[in-house]
């Protein structure tokens, strides 16, 4: 399993773009990169998933360089409600479901 490393915490202000980078040096060919968001006392919520280059949805963008050893979650124009813990997961497209490992995540705090 590819281990992920991401900052423990980040602070930003409303209206700013926030970029959270995750390192996954040992990512395997079949691995996908997935980001989840978790608010206090709630279950994790899927944000975005990608394999390479760039993926964008209505919530965020995910940038993955050619070597795939890192990825960056980009949240455009954050608001107070984006304050949460963000988890970067690397999981195989072929292994069983139990191989999803949640790390400590990045605690993002948005200030007015």
């Amino acid at each position: 399993l590819a281990k992920t490393t991401q900052p423990i915490s980040m602070d930003s202000y409303e209206g700013q773009e926030v970029n959270i980078t995750c390192s996954h040096n040992n990512i395997a060919t079949n691995d996908y990169i997935t980001w989840y968001q978790q608010f206090p006392s709630q279950g994790p919520r899927f944000i975005i998933q990608g394999y390479k280059t760039k993926v964008t949805n209505e919530v965020a963008s995910l940038f993955i360089p050619a070597d795939r050893k890192s990825s960056t979650l980009s949240l455009p124009r954050v608001s107070l409600s984006d304050t949460a813990v963000y988890y970067c997961l690397v999981a195989s497209g072929y292994s069983s479901a139990s191989k999803i490992i949640f790390g400590s995540g990045t605690r993002l705090s948005i200030r007015p």
Partner: protein, 117 residues
């Protein structure tokens, strides 16, 4: 938008008692999961379930835990004899059947907060 639901939202029990946590996964999903999160700690995988049997379980999921899909909609986690250290948030999740691969998007419920006294 379809969502995973869980009941109860909060369960308080005495040590040694049995508890059953209930989940209703998204209706067209076929893979189900239980996770737990002790306060302030990481989300930990407990068990995955497919086709009416356990697909995989972690070392946390010992003999005091069991899962069941008693009917076409509910998915339950039973803890036979609760211990103080079982106090945690328990999350149910489900995913579409694409072989239960780790890369499948999992949809989590709001959780049940279990407090063991």
């Amino acid at each position: 938008e379809p969502e995973v639901t869980q009941t109860p939202s909060h369960q308080v029990t005495q040590m040694g008692q049995e508890v059953i946590l209930r989940c209703v996964p998204i209706s067209n999903h076929l893979y189900f999961y239980w996770y737990r999160q002790i306060l302030g700690q990481k989300v930990e995988f407990l068990v995955s379930f497919y086709n009416n049997e356990i697909s995989e379980k972690s070392e946390i999921f010992d003999d005091q835990f069991s899962v069941e899909r008693p009917d076409g909609s509910n998915f339950t986690l039973k803890i036979r004899s609760t211990k103080l250290e079982d106090s945690a948030m328990y999350f149910c999740a489900s995913s579409e059947n694409r072989g239960g691969r780790a890369a499948d998007t999992q949809y989590f419920g709001p959780g049940t907060r279990l407090t063991v006294l």
